[in-house]
Symmetry: C2
Subunit: 197 residues, 2 copies
């Protein structure tokens, strides 16, 4: 047996754990929270069908999708920190960096490097592809919250200002998607899903 | 508001239902069945890390991943038919074709056509990209079954012959992955996870 292949299969087996990492938001119409594997799939399909709202930037779609597929693997070890909870997010960067080293060490050296480099690029959120990926990663829970009467937004400390701030990256990269966010935020305030301040 | 964008968002909302379509196999180390969204994510990451075992064919990775992301959307309406149950698979092709028309009709016309064409290509399993995608779609539940003491394989009518037959597409496209399948099948028989005949 090819030992490098067995190593890669051990990675395939290890990442199965992503299906048990629960997020803050819920699945639409269900009484249960979404997990990171479901979220990762959803944002990739979103990147495909919403690409036209970013295509003037001439970005590399494959790279965006690769980042989205692996961006949350670190949470297998570091867990999902609630983005509106500053205390839970303390030390997040360091914990996730350690987790990245751990999860990608299941792979043979070449793939380990490629994956780590993709993950770091996503995490730093500077390149065009990383920023488009971040847009999808923000917009998906936004849409789910809007369609679950503000499941996450009802938690303490969440206001429309904070939600807008979190989605602000869309403003620059895609005016149409930003317009949708503004529309949905206003509608959510008027329906009582989201506190204004 | 851009009406075409709202149409695309309605698709993003509708496909959330894929997270509630349960498959025959289980998640590793858990007492629950896997859903189609989790499966779709897993096979895309597998395509990334196992690509080297297909790369002599010079295929288009983005196309393979796009197919994998959307290939199971039809099951939102047609359900998951157990591949080793001939009766459950009767009329599957027609049911899935109708389901494809229904799910992609949520999209604006251009995207609808692109998605339908990708899905048909996957379903026909003739082009190189569709066949590589099929390899991932077969190998992933195989690996999960091997790591859950044959969760699906314990069902009536499943034998090593049928499992090998189902994974045979790997033989031609990737001798290394086929060797892994043979190794795991033999090991599963000896451990009692899979009946030989």
């Amino acid at each position: 047996m090819n030992q490098e292949l067995l190593q890669t299969i051990s990675f395939v087996v290890e990442i199965d754990k992503l299906k048990s990492i629960l997020r803050q938001n819920a699945v639409i119409g269900k009484e249960r929270r979404e997990n990171d594997a479901e979220h990762s799939w959803h944002i990739c399909v979103m990147a495909m069908v919403l690409w036209k709202y970013f295509d003037k930037h001439n970005a590399n779609m494959l790279k965006v999708i690769k980042m989205l597929l692996i961006h949350d693997l670190v949470e297998i070890y570091s867990g999902d920190a609630f983005c509106y909870d500053d205390k839970a997010c303390e030390g997040k960067k360091e914990r996730e960096k350690e987790a990245a080293i751990k999860i990608f060490s299941f792979l043979p050296p070449d793939d380990r490097e490629e994956m780590m480099s993709l993950w770091l690029e996503f995490d730093e959120c500077v390149t065009l592809e990383a920023r488009i990926a971040a847009c999808m990663d923000r917009l998906q829970p936004f849409i789910l919250n809007y369609h679950t009467q503000g499941f996450t937004w009802s938690k303490p400390g969440v206001t429309s200002e904070k939600v807008l701030k979190r989605n602000e990256i869309l403003k620059e990269l895609s005016p149409e998607l930003w317009e949708y966010v503004l529309h949905a935020v206003n509608d959510s305030i008027s329906k009582g899903y989201l506190k204004e301040k």
